[in-house]
Symmetry: C2
Subunit: 95 residues, 2 copies
């Protein structure tokens, strides 16, 4: 008896500081750009990009897992927003 392979998915979750939250690291990077001679940078904010691979029954189940993960672990809802930017099956998974 063989089980069918579990579908695999790839997701990208972007976590960014809320607009009202200051970003000193981003501002320091912007100032450094100017000193380096890269002109015209008016704003620079640094967020996180999480690349996640997961197994789930289908796309809806995968989305639901990612939402739980992001709400509970990846983002701090007091100062951060998150968005699921990409969710797609892994090519060739299970073949």
């Amino acid at each position: 008896m063989t089980f069918p392979p579990v579908p695999r998915f790839q997701a990208r979750v972007l976590v960014s500081l809320r607009p009202s939250v200051l970003d000193p690291a981003g501002e320091a990077t912007r100032a450094a750009a100017q000193r380096l001679g890269v002109d015209g940078i008016t704003q620079l904010r640094i967020g996180k990009a999480m690349e996640v691979e997961l197994e789930a029954a289908d796309l809806d189940a995968a989305r639901s897992q990612i939402e739980r993960l992001s709400d509970r672990l990846l983002a701090n809802p007091v100062i951060e927003n998150w968005c699921l930017e990409q969710l797609k099956p892994v090519e060739g998974a299970g073949s």
Copy 2:
């Protein structure tokens, strides 16, 4: 005498660890997900997402500025890759 407004652009640069570089923070997050009861996460890697606003003469000039910025400041080429994921004019800029 009035000068025409300088076009403004919005860019997103993703900086990720090279595949050969270990990511202990990502691995710790993956393990924490499992303890939280979010099953099926097989890999999790944490990169940076830089949201940049800049002024440039046109789209090509903006791309060139972003490339200099990323090569020289945003990514550490020894352990990181970067890609320009998005570059678009800011709606309503100069109007």
